[in-house]
Symmetry: D2
Subunit: 144 residues, 4 copies
């Protein structure tokens, strides 16, 4: 059995807010980083990888790369479903992929990815994987 193939994923639904659509009535691109953030927090709750826990371990994990690709518009009144998947890596990074679907139609409407690195409490980049994160991976059946 190859544990590293284990997929950690989470998902949540969300209603498009009135404040999130632009003057054409479709979700403004700047709202997608918030949807991605919500997905990361949901993932954190399910798999116990919360920011709070990292802080307590002495780490901060800022997002340093973000990619967003739009396929179809979401409109006010639509319900979205976001799926977040951890992409396992040997590097001292946290990689996530995101897929957003229109819940009613089932269509994939946007995708994205993000990379987080680890900083210590003096904002220095941590080049080797923090012990707490290796332990977290082991507990969740991931290699690396």
């Amino acid at each position: 059995m190859n544990e590293s193939k284990k997929i950690l994923r989470a998902e949540r639904e969300f209603s498009v807010r009135f404040s999130e659509v632009d003057s054409m009535g479709i979700v403004w691109h700047g709202s997608y980083p918030l949807y991605f953030e919500d997905a990361r927090e949901e993932f954190g709750r399910i798999y116990h990888l919360e920011y709070m826990h990292m802080f307590e371990m002495g780490f901060y994990a800022p997002l340093v790369d973000l990619q967003f690709h739009f396929k179809k518009p979401l409109k006010y009144g639509d319900t979205g479903r976001i799926v977040i998947t951890l992409q396992n890596t040997d590097a001292a990074k946290i990689l996530f992929n995101y897929e957003i679907y229109n819940k009613e139609t089932g269509e994939l409407v946007a995708t994205g990815s993000s990379t987080q690195v680890f900083l210590d409490t003096e904002y220095n980049l941590v080049w080797t994987m923090p012990e707490f994160f290796m332990e977290w991976k082991r507990m969740n059946g991931l290699e690396g």
Copy 2:
């Protein structure tokens, strides 16, 4: 003379707002799409490529791809300088590249890029370059 080498660029300075920093005191990644947007609007004012003008021509140019790469933190109290450059293309798209500098230190702190496509007023994707945009390119010395 190769007109297509002409570079259209704009820049603006901005102060980091208190509401833009996170609990570590550094600019939250979700603020960067706003900085990019401000840069696009500055570009639009200088080169007359405003959203309003596009609307009047019957087009809407939503952002469909966004990339953001963080290099160093900006903190509350810092002044940033963002440089936006149009990347000319034959496709019916608007491509921008962004560079953000810490004004005091001169360091490059973040980069990014964005792609906009054209939709007509019924939200249909426009595959050929709109006439107004071809005319805009000619007036600004760009080929394609």
Copy 3:
């Protein structure tokens, strides 16, 4: 039986997002209008008073007055509970009151209120109560 005493209320829980706290780790005041908005949308879903429905009836109900009063901080990791209550009025307005509680401690941490007026599709203020809203009130057991 005095129908006008009927109380229409809704509530929802929310997790404080990392992006909503400031550099002191507490929710930034600018996030509260978003919490209020979420509460209005929840109210709209429960009692069928959605913006979409108003649009179809030819009305737009922008928020023209907003008050926010802070009592105690919410922190990252806290769960809030917001209660929204319609304040019935004879005027052509929609008045809401808001109470936000810390779910764990039960403490009231913030209150607020908002007033919305009706505009027609040409942005003219509507001075008399729209027919659809009077009908909505009747269906929900409210006088006036």
Copy 4:
């Protein structure tokens, strides 16, 4: 000469961002707290009352009351002008009033006010006016 009548005010212009307008094309109410914040930061720069300075003095000044009153819409493409005025008080509070004008028409389009209190670094409310703030008032010709 009654020094307490001295008026401290600042103002700044701003362009309405595309992301700040809603699907009706007018500025969404949730953007006004950001305009108010920008005005406070401008005031802080002019009169040396920055958050950073307060932090260094050991204080944090969260906004605990906010009022917003809308009069006329601002639209995408409009330029606003915000005027912020300190309302002097004997209490250990910072009170600001705001007026937003449409720059082109000169019309008053929105007003507001905010109250900030002082917390120490352990989040305890400070009931007496901090020494640094009394000194700041004296240097700026204000009584109380």
